[in-house]
Amino acid sequence: MSIALRDKLMLMVAVLLAAVYLFPLYWMYVTALKTGSAMFASPPSFWPSDPQWSIYGSVWQSRNVGRYLWNSFVIASGAVSLIVILGTGCAYVLARYRNAWVDVGLFLILMLQVLPASLMITPIFVGFSQLGLLDYPRVAVILAIAAKSMPFFVVLVRAAFMSVPMELEEAALVDGNSRFGAFFHIVLPLARNGILVSAILIFMQAFGEFVYSKSMIQAIEYQPASVGLNSFMGPNTNEWNNIMAYAAMYVTPILAIFVLLQRRIVSGLTSGALK
């Protein structure tokens, strides 16, 4: 078999695999557009005969999706800002040296990354309620998410810093920079790509966070979209087209960002962030 033919075949198989894999996403969008009866039709149709585009408008209104999305955005942005500010410097130092202290530091950071949110929520809830932080529910969630995701960010960004050669920093120091200057003006810009990619990933994770939000935000006007979706789905729900429409509106901003930055994200991850 010639190389060209083999390549075309592989491409076809790859497209097929991708189609199978992405089917759930497709199903979400399709279900949203179905009428009530089409949804429950058996056999289910793979393309809606009577697409209800208006469903997005009505769900947006009736479920106040705008407010939910805004809360998700606020929480995610707050968490990412906090993580980037605190985590970048930490990752830089952990990348710069390799001695017993750094090993201990890395180990501790990894240990803190492993604990499931559903377990940590208990003491955090109790602690926050004692501190009165639960009166500012979104802040509480931002702090909790920052603590949960920071280790992951530090590990990714540390790898980005490790790819900046030490000689550049040394040259900057010899040229008269302070350590801070060398870090801020030389090393940081070079690691910018890795930091950006990691920040985007953390943002997307925080945008979808559920456990902390559900446990700590009782007031409905502060709840993010994940909690909104969960309250939508009781044990006997059957308005799946509405649910899927909600889900689609929730997820599409993230998917849009992902598709636009897909190349960057993939290369950032494969170039050394995951070792």
């Binding site: 592989m10 992405l22 930490c90 003491p123 280790p151 979808g208 190349r263």
Partner: protein, 300 residues
């Protein structure tokens, strides 16, 4: 100390400052709760004593209560099944995809990116979608299974105790494929091409090259991946909340969901804390394995 503060802009104070602030934050937000959890598991906690720290110390009573309950061992069993099945599924499919895309046919790098989608989607949305797909009467999965002749009647994935856990497993495997695929792709591309050429000249065919070159050289990647898989699978909560909520009748309940349920639904905080301590032991073990697998890195 004073010298350290003076060297904040330049010198050791700089490094220590950059590291200590986040570490203090993490310690307060994650370390303290951990300790708090452990302490709480040895105390008697109720709604009223929630606000105080000094609660009556009851030793191992909570643990004994926990293990004497009938649902404990089945739930722990479910957790084990969930973890093993998820990791096995994610790993094999992820590895197969990584190998497939590693051949590097034109368009492979672009298409590979599509498989990352599950990583960025909120767990709850993934759960909601799979909930609908797995619906007993109207779900499309049952339709496809019947059409292809694999089953004859609808499987009630969510409400049949025999299948409820597997419903979440299926969704979790879908969710974890991207992470596995990426990590294994990185490991695969770290193997120098001329090793394969040398092996080929030495007489090894494709299968032999896979077993004698690829797999052994990926040992640390695979070790890291399985350890991370264990850690992340034990963290999986959103899917349970979205698909089965642990039911019916605890048939799809797992330790991490149960702990939350005990604390926030049944207000039995002490029991919740107790389970979390047990789980933390397992998770710590997995992270030690992870750290050991990734020991050899030096700055470039």
């Amino acid at each position: 100390m004073r010298r350290l503060l003076l060297s904040i802009r330049d010198g050791r104070g700089f490094d220590i400052g950059l590291v200590s602030v986040p570490l203090i934050f993490l310690f307060a937000m994650a370390g303290l709760p951990l300790i708090y959890n452990i302490v709480m598991s040895f105390q008697e906690v109720d709604m009223f004593s929630l606000g105080t720290f000094a609660r009556p110390f009851v030793g191992f009573k909570n643990y004994i209560t926990l293990f004497s309950q009938p649902e404990t061992w089945p739930i722990l069993g479910n957790t084990a099944i969930f973890v093993v099945a998820s990791i096995a599924g994610q790993f094999t499919i992820g590895f197969a995809l990584a190998l497939f895309f590693w051949t590097g046919f034109p368009g492979s790098s672009w298409l590979r990116g599509l498989f990352l989608v599950s990583w960025v989607m909120p767990g709850l949305v993934v759960g909601a979608i799979w909930n609908w797909i797995l619906s007993g009467d109207f779900g499309v999965l049952n339709f496809l299974l019947k059409e292809s002749g694999l089953v004859s009647a609808n499987i009630f994935w969510r409400s049949d105790p025999n299948f409820s856990l597997w419903a979440v497993v299926i969704a979790n495997i879908w969710l974890g494929i991207s992470f596995n695929m990426i990590l294994l792709s990185v490991g695969l591309s770290a193997i120098p091409q001329d090793l394969y050429e040398a092996a080929e000249l030495d007489g090894a065919n494709v299968v032999q090259r896979f077993y004698t070159i690829t797999l052994p050289m990926m040992r640390s990647s695979i070790g890291a991946l399985v350890a991370l898989g264990l850690i992340f699978t034990l963290q999986q909560f959103d899917l349970f909340a979205a698909i089965t909520a642990g039911g019916p009748n605890n048939s799809s309940n797992v330790a991490q969901y149960w702990a939350w349920d005990l604390s926030f639904r049944q207000y039995d905080f002490a029991q919740g804390a107790t389970i979390s301590v047990i789980m933390i032991v397992f998770v710590m073990f997995a992270s030690v394995v992870y750290v050991r697998s990734t020991r050899h890195e030096v700055r470039g």
